[in-house]
Symmetry: C3
Subunit: 340 residues, 3 copies
């Protein structure tokens, strides 16, 4: 979908530096873009690449325009403008014509919007309600009484167990499982008695959930994911977890049961939290942190030790095992004294 820089500036409310008649038809990286592509500079670390870019145009902040050898769209938030320009130049073809594939299996009393698409080998259970322009991917399974809001997209092979409710404009990637049983067992005489998982899963609008991520149903009340939450791949959300609006979690995060997470939190990859905690709004957790206690103050929290050469790591790790006794009894000195 070729367009001029001028049209992009109008549509996305930017200023132009240079020729507004330049035509672009795609996006590219600063280092790899063709002359018909538009690129962006969001991270100043890439300014050297800006100076030699072969892109037809670049989206950038005003302060970087001097370094740009080609026409530019000047924006306060170039990355957000880039995101919108990319979506405009590369419209997804997913929401194409509605249809119900001949191999799909749809319960007689399910309500499927005429504008929805139900792909090959998909299953829609009894009482399910599929909204307008919803796409149900190949082999996806929508359980009994599930409700899916309009324009939500299920990739191939998503499973929504009975009673799950999902809002509008959500994206669930392949392999997502929502509404599987929470992990609840009562110990009784050396055996584990299953605690029925009777709650549901409520997912708001504009939520995106990554490939092979799992969201368990609540034990009695619901597991809740509010509007605008984004979860990456292979994330685990336990039963009765509540995730506040616009919180994001990168891949391999795990939140144990009944933990409540505030709004606008950011979880780096592989962050894990035990159950029954409360995490306040606007908390940021860096990569591979372990959250063992509630967090009441916004801010940035860390918890990972970076790798070291194995021999050095081994020595330091051995010292860690005696850290308390060393500190307590001043062994530091004695070791020094003996010249060890």
């Amino acid at each position: 979908m070729p367009t001029t820089l001028g049209e992009l500036a109008d549509r996305f409310d930017c200023e132009i530096r240079g020729d507004p008649t330049v035509v672009v038809d795609s996006v590219g990286t600063l280092s790899g873009a063709l002359p018909t592509a538009i690129s962006f500079l969001a991270n100043p670390a890439y300014i050297a690449q800006l100076k030699t870019t072969g892109a037809g145009a670049v989206i950038l902040e005003e302060r970087h325009q001097e370094s740009c050898p080609v026409p530019a769209l000047v924006a306060i938030n170039p990355y957000a403008v880039y995101a919108r320009v990319a979506a405009f130049l590369h419209p997804t073809t997913v929401s194409a014509d509605p249809y119900v594939h001949s191999t799909a299996s749809i319960a007689a009393d399910a309500k499927v919007s005429g504008s929805a698409r139900v792909s090959a080998h998909a299953v829609v259970g009894p009482g399910a309600q599929i909204g307008e322009s919803v796409v149900i991917g190949e082999g996806s399974v929508v359980g009994a009484n599930v409700i899916i809001g309009s324009k939500t997209w299920l990739a191939p092979r998503v499973v929504l167990m009975a009673g799950v409710e999902i809002g509008k404009r959500c994206i669930l990637h392949s392999g997502v499982v929502c509404g599987s049983d929470g992990f609840g067992f009562a110990h009784d005489g050396g055996l584990w008695v299953k605690v029925p998982q009777l709650g549901g899963v409520l997912i708001g609008n504009d939520v995106e959930i990554g490939a092979n991520t799992t969201v368990d149903r609540g034990t009695i009340e619901n597991t809740v994911i509010e509007d605008g939450v984004k979860l990456d791949n292979l994330v685990q959300i336990g039963h009765n977890v509540h995730i506040g609006a616009h919180t994001v979690m990168a891949a391999l995060c795990g939140i144990a049961g009944s933990t409540t997470i505030g709004r606008r939190c950011m979880f780096g990859g592989a962050v894990v939290a035990v159950g029954h905690l409360k995490i306040c709004d606007d908390a940021i957790f860096t990569f591979h942190s372990t959250i063992l206690q509630s967090v009441t103050e916004p801010g940035t929290y860390s918890g990972a030790l970076s790798v070291d050469k194995a021999s050095r790591w081994r020595r330091n790790a051995a010292r860690f095992k005696t850290l308390d006794s060393v500190t307590r009894f001043g062994q530091v000195i004695r070791e020094n004294d003996t010249g060890d």
Copy 2:
């Protein structure tokens, strides 16, 4: 399924405090239950909620009955009784009528019990044996010569590779893969030669396996999961692992190949163990522990450092990198002396 407190007391062997004719039809939380619901108190932290509960009745220990404003079932283990009451009041509808869906694909020589259900788009391979009252969920794939014991339930989209054997009354949630190849390669001249994974997977009775969990087949002999084991979501069980009866593992645990785990162990979430270890019976590992050595004594083991404010964490993590040399050479003192 409305019932009286008196009937529940008889059926689950509890004592009644208050009116035995009270009728309940569902379960609820102490804070959220309706007057027709029965709740429970298992954790004394919730005693304030007990005092103001709107539930019709509560299951609790004798010591808490004074604090209960409504009729009560008195039990030694209220949570276990609650689990049974909940299952009684909310019977699952899964084990409804048997059928074979018209879209299911079943090999000519597979033996499927007349009381089993084979759902839409499920596949049952040659030589497979499907026991009485088994449910095979939508899109699940049961490989050649798989054996499934009676009353076992496969959720939608489970995969059992060839030769896997599963006992009775098991529950496998969506996305589970059992019997995929173990990770075995021989290094040879800079290349990796695949080691054929020829063993199987043996799973006992009353095992539950969470969504998107993977259990690899053995290299030569079998991977074994004994009776009553419960695995949560996104758990990885490597080839030739052996898990003793009634051991439980929360989400995101990973057990590397050939590690043997005893009976009645408890693994918190995200606990990982290297291969070729032996873990004794009755070992408990708290959240996000790393197990690098065999464990020979029952007891509780920990291994995670909790998050801290990023600035403080960064300083402590930097000190960790020199912990051995600091301890060894008494740098502590010198730093103090120079007033740093």
Copy 3:
């Protein structure tokens, strides 16, 4: 497929010790092998088992032949020879007759080799190209314009999103998702704007990917996995990651976006790396390491602290929280002085 020791020696270029007419028909462990099975000794820790083995023959190094009570194949790399012998004695039946199952759904313009197999309920999208002797497992979904090289095997329920390209002789286990969207969002006024994920996934030859592993498509350019890479189960590969040839990663590893990994690296289980790093060739990371910085020197790196008894761990972990201030201000001494 019974065969003589002599034939195995010829075929796999080993020397024989003992009777070349011994017949073996299968492989077994040193401790469990039947007299018609051939076993191997790769790890000297098992030499006691060698001495009492009931195997018909054993593959081993020359230095161990004295301890072997049965005929032997002598090799420099017994494990690699074992791998090849096992594949010879236990040929996989996967690559049996080609067919297209009647329930498979194949787009009119997809090109499927006549020697390929498309299993029950599989889906092949428009423009896809399926090479010779490819197997597409039950319920797998091959998106539009996907290209799959000859002899590649997709287990049941694999998903390849649009445009993914995979080389020859690859193995993708059940639940693998390749080409799902990378995790890219631009922050704008308190909301997250989705950054279109327009790149692809390029996978070389002889790559194996474990069950439920996810490989995201690139943002603009491609995510790349070079020849001979082996990924275990539940691994996450972020967008624009590049993995060099013959690198291996055990289960639960996670590599965040845009990190570049060299050739012949080895990642133990549960190793995680933040994004935008460069890892050189021949780096080895032991179990559960956290990689927060680029690695420029080959060698072995570690980053995990092993579990300890919970009471001791708790005390040491508490000391860690004050490690910097203790070190800085010599609190060690004062504590010792007060006899605390």
